[in-house]
Amino acid sequence: MKIAVHFYSYYKDLSGSAETTETLPPGSTIADLLKQLMARFPELGAMQNSTLVAVGVDYQGRGYLLKEGDEVSLFPPVQGG
């Protein structure tokens, strides 16, 4: 299945792009997606533990089961206000 991935804040700079698409086998979790992304964008690796992950507009944990069509967003800790 194909998963659209969006980067925000300095993750955009680190990855060199605002979005990408990953192909994953069915049954993959966010943890699997992150592993695959870190291999492709080693610059993001150091950030892995503090990375926030949303599917659509809701936060999801590493165990979330991805499904076709999910839009995943990755970003560093938020800093609004």
Binding site: S9, Y10, A54, V78, G80, G81
Partner: protein
Amino acid sequence: MKYRSSRRCKADDGIHDLRFAIYDLRANALLAPSFTGHVVVKRQLTITLEPIDEAALLTKRKISDDMGAVVRFLGVVRRTEEERTIKAIEYEAFHRMVEHQFKLLFDEMEKSWPIESVRLVHRIGVVRVNEPSLWVEVVAPHRGEAFAACQWLIDELKRVVPIWKKPFA
């Protein structure tokens, strides 16, 4: 300043604006004697590239006769960010998620405190030192709940609302 083109997003009078809420037991413990179990909580969320106009905001909200406390907070860009001197901060937002996360926070506020109104304006794009990036107002019957709800909202905003800073020296 490459995020400068972020689209303007105004949620005024939109999805978050007016709805009913039934207070849970926690909220009821705090209620004023005249509280009837549910109220219309006015909500307004504004994410904008424009400067925050406090004077205009003050003219736009009347409070009811049962409200005794209004707490307002203004967050202003400081000259120092992580011990460096800066000229401005650029705020970037993941707009759709910002709106959704604020809706969740407003829902939680309604359940936790007997507030009548909450308004929040967050400026995005480039905000210079000494200019406000955030304006929050909470109206409640008593000051304890108004202060608590306002501080909670700001703390949560800084925890879950996807807005990021980029300082400019």
